[in-house]
Amino acid sequence: MGFTGFFLITFLIVHCFINGMIVFGDNGETFNHWASFMGTNWIVRVMEIGLFAGLILHIVQGLILWGQNKKARPIKYAISKYREGKWYSRSMGLLGTLILMFLIVHLYHFWTPSRLGGLLGIRTLEETSLGIYNGQKVHNLYSEMVIVFQNPWIVIIYVLGMISLCWHLLHGFQSAFQTFGITHKKYAPLIKGVGVFYSIVICTLFALMPISIYLKWIN
């Protein structure tokens, strides 16, 4: 859980960094440049397989944990009060399910048309005239963002997805370190602090993307 979780944490940094390129206000040119690199470079494509494997493993591990932990307490308490256990630490499965639901919507919007467009009637994206990779045209994922985020309900789904992700990370980040056995009186508060900072910054940045496009803060 910790290893796959940490792997996914590093992915989010890259994803957030590249998507942050939309702030340049150059009609997505910088962003599309980076996105097409991610879409065409073979090393990145191989890593993408690893990413999906890591994600699936994370989900499978989570389901196994959930099943075993449910079995470990066949009769539940009539009352249970918690002193230390935070609600989000105890609701990682629920938060994870919400994130998965968001992820399915998210992949449907951007990943499937870009990667699988044209196959089995999956819609394709319009292309840019960037022509930066061997003169080939690349998918204009920026304009897809602008189109998708016109619908306020989709913006709300994305923001709720990021709120779930934020709580999930607040527990997951520091929990991964504990699982690895990395804890020390001196730097445990640092790990905790970095975890809180990371969770809030990453999720706020991601949530700002649909919001800023919907509210036309970015042109």
Binding site: Q68, A72, I75, K76, I79, S80, Y82, R83, S89, G181
Partner: protein, 254 residues
């Protein structure tokens, strides 16, 4: 603190044996002194039940001074009741006030089957200890204290881990029913000392494997165990056990 008396309503879990289905039974107890311990309050109830020819409530207890780890009651949704770093025998009735309703349940864990009422079988813990909680040093005369130097800090940490009384509150309070705090304390107390070195790798592997066999849940680092532990055993022991386990799992030759 001023003495006072109270009347209470108790909702107590009654279960005939491991195979029967239990249910809550409600009792009223009168004139309970604020200076009684929680178990003495149960003694008062049980004396009355015996006098009435009824079956007294079975519960585990031994030293009644918070060091043996026998008592095990889940009081109003908390292992050992509302006081911190406390066993239920050392919980005093001044924690409650007149007219309160108190819900008392046994530890609930698949690995701790209920024997009767509030008594659970914690034999799973004994089997985990048997799997590796020992050292293969010669017994006999105590050796000279300076023949085996031990760093002060390590000795202290080992003693802190060894203060675990094995009551099972960590398992009871863990939302996952995991036994990691107990097992990690028992692994740590020996892994920190030179006497524990010969079995260092096999110990952690065997004890964790026995823990899994007993059907405890998995640790997801919620840290409720540390918060309810009567001895304040730290979750840093769990991190140490994880390190020991990774190390042993990748290098042990057996």
């Amino acid at each position: 603190m001023e003495h006072y008396s109270m009347n209470l309503k108790l909702k107590v879990w009654r279960q005939k044996n491991a195979s029967s289905k239990g249910k809550f039974e409600t009792f009223e107890v009168q004139n309970i002194s604020s200076e009684m311990s929680f178990l003495e309050m149960f003694d008062v109830l049980n004396e009355r039940l015996v006098n009435e020819g009824k079956n007294p409530v079975a519960f585990d207890h031994d030293c009644r001074e918070g060091i043996c780890g026998s008592c095990s009651m889940y009081v109003n949704g908390q292992a050992h009741g509302p006081w911190e770093k406390n066993t239920v025998c050392q919980l005093h009735m001044r924690a409650f006030k007149d007219g309160d309703t108190i819900v008392v349940e046994p530890w609930r864990s698949g690995a701790f089957p209920v024997i009767k009422d509030l008594v659970v079988d914690r034999g799973a813990f004994d089997r985990i200890i048997q799997a590796g909680g020992f050292v293969s040093v010669n017994t006999g005369n105590a050796v000279d204290a300076n023949s085996l130097p031990i760093e002060k800090q390590k000795a202290d940490e080992s003693f802190f881990a060894a203060s675990c009384i094995g009551c099972g509150a960590c398992v009871a309070a863990c939302p996952n029913g995991a036994a990691m705090l107990f097992v990690s304390a028992k692994v740590s107390q020996l892994a920190l000392l030179p006497q524990g070195m010969p079995e260092r790798k096999t110990r952690v592997l065997n004890m964790v494997s026995q823990m899994d066999k007993e059907g405890f849940g998995n640790c997801t680092n919620i840290y409720e165990c540390e918060a309810v532990c009567p001895k304040g055993i730290s979750v840093s022991n769990i991190a140490r056990m994880n390190r020991e386990y990774f190390g042993a799992g990748t290098t042990a030759e057996e």
